[in-house]
């Protein structure tokens, strides 16, 4: 009997030693001041990725001061901190979109404590040094994107995203940007960024208890975060917009919105299937140069942008026909319990690989946080997929392309072609 036990334990030893590396478990908590903390521990490399997400983006810029968030994003790390972070070996970047503003940094775990201490200072007060240079840089970026057509595309997307209160997303205006003063920035930051919801997402070689201790020590001075309310999006039948565009000529962008409820139930699964089917369908057709699926979401809502870029030989009508055939195919996909198992098996592999990489794990967690989905809930895992109600899902897919449609933007290199 004892020999048998010994043999079994010896056989299990390799699995016991490395079991922790196969776990994808994400831990989270909310600090006393409302900061949400999400951590995926991974000790295979002595490295950590930390993202600080302010749930406040360009959609909430003050009236007639669009550009405020861009300026704040550029100033989030002031020039003094450049040197501090450089000496600590911290590599970072900032970004902002309509719904959130982020700082993402990578470093050795030993530098994490200092990083949080410095970030606390930034989160309390922003430097406005070199603000005029930042404005000039933003204007340059805007002008360049005007040449290529990126701004026209972004502005068109913004103009067509309508909220149920009649508001649309704001669009970049150079005069508005130049009218913003240093005191405007400081005041807006003081009244908004200091209190907006914040999520700290960490992936890497830090233990849960150590992380909490660091955050309790460094973030204790931060004021309590306010709750946010989201304004529902207005979905309607597909609106058509035609645009001349050098950046993405010969393309169609279809936009759809998922409500928080739909996003919670099916969002993750639907993305997985949609992307796979898109790649299969469109990459096999030489008339399609590129296809992509992007998501701009806020507080549970998800705005999906499906973009098809055609080769110049195909007309917009031809491209629309190809897309209609794709919709027909995906609605008839007939997800059976067997194919659901297959998708779930693929998702398990995908999650395994995603969480082997710190950066991918970070992005995966970020996506779930922005979608307001339960990080460790059933819909985040392959196990949860097998519990999906197929009848409901099928009904959802069949209706998705009609009922959830927002708008369609068609672009051409030249409008007279």
């Amino acid at each position: 009997m004892i020999k048998k036990i010994v043999c079994v334990i010896l056989l299990l030893l390799p699995q016991i030693s490395f079991a922790k590396n196969n776990e994808k478990k994400v831990q989270e908590c909310i600090l006393q001041n409302g900061v949400r903390v999400v951590l995926h521990e991974d000790f295979k490399m002595p490295m950590v990725v930390i993202g600080i997400v302010f749930h406040l983006g360009k959609a909430e810029a003050p009236p007639n001061k669009f550009g405020m968030i861009d300026l704040i994003e550029k100033k989030l790390i002031n020039s003094e901190l450049h040197d501090v972070f450089y000496d600590l070996g911290i590599n970072y970047c900032t970004s902002s979109d309509y719904f959130c503003t982020k700082i993402v940094a990578s470093m050795n775990p030993e530098s994490a404590r200092d990083f949080f201490i410095q970030m606390c200072k930034v989160m309390l007060e922003i430097s406005v040094e070199d603000l005029e240079i930042c404005k000039k840089q933003l204007v340059l970026e805007y002008k360049l994107s005007s040449y290529c057509g990126q701004d026209a595309l972004a502005n068109n997307i913004a103009a067509n995203v309508q909220f149920s209160n009649g508001n649309t997303l704001p669009m970049f205006q150079e005069q508005e940007l130049n009218s913003i003063t240093e005191s405007d920035v400081k005041l807006f930051y003081k009244n908004n960024f200091r209190y907006c919801p914040v999520t700290v997402i960490v992936s890497g070689a830090i233990g849960y208890k150590s992380l909490l201790k660091m955050l309790h020590n460094s973030f204790s001075n931060l004021p309590r975060r306010r709750a946010r309310s989201s304004i529902p999006l207005a979905t309607s039948s597909l609106k058509d917009v035609l645009l001349e565009n050098k950046f993405m000529g010969n393309a169609i962008i279809y936009a759809y919105a998922l409500s928080p409820d739909e996003n919670m139930k099916f969002g993750n699964f639907f993305d997985h299937i949609l992307l796979h089917e898109m790649k299969k369908y469109f990459n096999g057709i030489y008339k399609i140069a590129n296809c992509s699926l992007d998501d701009i979401g806020q507080n549970g809502w998800s705005i999906k942008l499906i973009t098809l870029e055609r080769r110049s030989t195909v007309s917009l009508e031809g491209l629309s026909d190809i897309y209609r055939a794709f919709i027909k195919r995906i609605c008839a996909l007939g997800i059976s319990p067997e194919s659901l198992k297959k998708v779930a098996a693929r998702k398990r592999v995908y999650d395994c690989i995603t969480f082997a990489n710190l950066g991918d794990a970070y992005h995966s967690m970020l996506y779930e946080c922005l979608a307001n989905r339960d990080i460790n809930g059933t819909y985040f895992s392959a196990d949860g997929l097998e519990a999906i109600n197929l009848k409901e899902f099928r009904a959802f897919v069949e209706n998705f392309f009609q009922q959830n449609a927002l708008f369609k933007i068609m672009t051409k290199f030249k409008l007279d072609n």
Binding site: L10, L13, N22, M45, D83, V139, G284, R346
Partner: protein, 436 residues
């Protein structure tokens, strides 16, 4: 009873004695890089990391990329990559995608831009054998379909059109043509329509036989696997690659130092809304790893956007800009370039600043800044976010930053800031005669 208890205690002690060293050994092994000798004669490295089920595989055929194609067959590497991997084992493109998903092959990426032809992917340990068996057909089934080749040729011109639309792309192409005026290096890294349209399936077969070989193949495995497993995986994946005979040793073509006589060029483009883009480049060939480390240290120390002297100086002079600096590394040739977008009104100030600074840097060595850069690079380059980064670690940790001495930095500063080797291209709404 006592005897039984003693037996149990002894067994537990034995288990502990066996398991603790195994555990400690595997923890210590983490991030270990080993060269794996094998009977296939393929240069292979293993980066051991406790990654559980996940393995990353990268395969690189050196000097088989588009930059190493002949002018007559410029782009054959890119076309070959499609012929090999788009339709494997008689399956259609879509069926191959499905097969990849079923076999757990994720992020399958291939590239032929640059000097090398490579592909890499992630796979799980449970599925790697089947995955490699499937991929091996790409190298063993070399009866290429002429109809698929015609299909590829049909859409190539539109790929090339897309690549020449943005100002940065136009700048880059022009600059490279000035840095390598008589070489494929100076041409598009996707290929040329004319040369691609003339390719036949025999050309592709010859290319595969002559250029995708064991003696120019460099393979990296990253994951929790042993050398013996690596050896087996190589045999499965590359059984289709023929053995190399001594007589046919792979030859690397040498690159001529053929900078254009023209040092500055202007591309006039209307409607750029008072923005000009300036790209300045320096080509430096044949660097050792020590020299590459020195170059990287200098670029990081002087040109990094946040703390570097160059960008700080631009801000102090109130020159509106967005600057981007990078080194394009190669075995045979490297290019350092600065790409800047400026308000048109700042062009004169910028050019004056650029040349003043280059002259200053050639004379003066700011050891403090370079020492900081070195420390920063050592801290960030030794590890990575992903298993793929750990593969790149092999390249960058072979850059011996901590061994870079003052003399090496001085030598590199002279090469890098030699104004006779500088080439500049400007794009904007300016006339041709308004050059620097």
């Amino acid at each position: 009873m006592k005897h039984k208890k003693l037996k149990i205690v002894t067994s537990i002690a034995v288990i502990a004695l066996i398991s603790i060293p195994i555990f400690l050994k595997n923890e210590k092994r983490s991030l270990e890089v080993v060269d794996v000798s094998n009977n296939m004669g393929i240069k292979t490295s293993l980066v051991y990391v406790n990654s559980g089920d996940v393995i990353y595989v990268r395969c690189k055929f050196k000097n088989a990329g588009v930059q190493c194609n002949s002018v007559e067959k410029h782009g054959i590497s890119a076309v070959t990559s499609r012929m090999l991997f788009d339709k494997i084992h008689g399956l259609s493109y879509v069926e191959v995608l499905e097969k990849f998903a079923d076999l757990g092959i994720w992020d399958f990426t291939r590239s032929t831009c640059g000097e090398d032809f490579y592909f890499h992917f992630y796979v799980t340990k449970a599925m790697i054998t089947d995955a490699l068996k499937f991929l091996s057909h790409a190298f063993s089934d070399t009866n290429f379909s002429s109809s698929y080749l015609e299909y590829i040729k049909k859409f190539y011109p539109s790929i090339l059109d897309v690549e020449t639309s943005a100002p940065q792309d136009l700048l880059r192409q022009r600059l490279w043509s000035m840095l390598y005026s008589n070489s494929v290096y100076g041409m598009s890294d996707t290929g040329s329509s004319r040369s691609i349209s003339g390719l036949s399936t025999k050309d592709i077969q010859d290319f595969v036989r002559n250029t995708l070989r064991r003696d120019n193949l460099d393979v990296v495995f990253v994951g929790e696997i042993s050398r013996f497993e690596v050896d087996d995986y190589l045999k499965i994946l590359f059984a289709g690659l023929p053995e190399t005979t001594k007589l046919e040793k792979f030859r690397f073509e040498t690159l001529k130092d053929d900078l254009s006589a023209e040092t500055e060029a202007v591309i006039t483009r209307p409607n750029l809304h008072d923005v000009v883009c300036v790209m300045t480049g320096v080509r430096i060939d044949g660097l050792s790893n020590m020299e590459k480390a020195a170059l990287k240290t200098i670029v990081e120390g002087i040109f990094n956007a946040k703390t570097g002297d160059f960008s700080r100086g631009l801000r102090r002079r109130n020159i509106s800009h967005n600057a981007f600096c990078e080194v394009i590394w190669g075995d045979m040739s490297n290019v350092f370039f600065i790409s800047v977008f400026l308000a048109k009104k700042d062009l004169e100030n910028y050019k004056k600043y650029l040349y003043e600074k280059f002259a200053e840097y050639q004379q003066t060595l700011d050891l403090g800044a370079l020492e900081k850069a070195k420390n920063y690079l050592i801290k960030i380059s030794c590890n990575g976010f992903s298993l793929q980064d750990l593969d790149e670690k092999i390249e960058t940790t072979s850059f011996p930053y901590d061994e870079v001495a003052e003399e090496a930095l001085e030598e590199m500063m002279k090469k890098l800031f030699d104004q006779s080797r500088l080439r500049t291209v400007i794009i904007g709404d300016i006339a041709q005669d308004q050059s620097l």
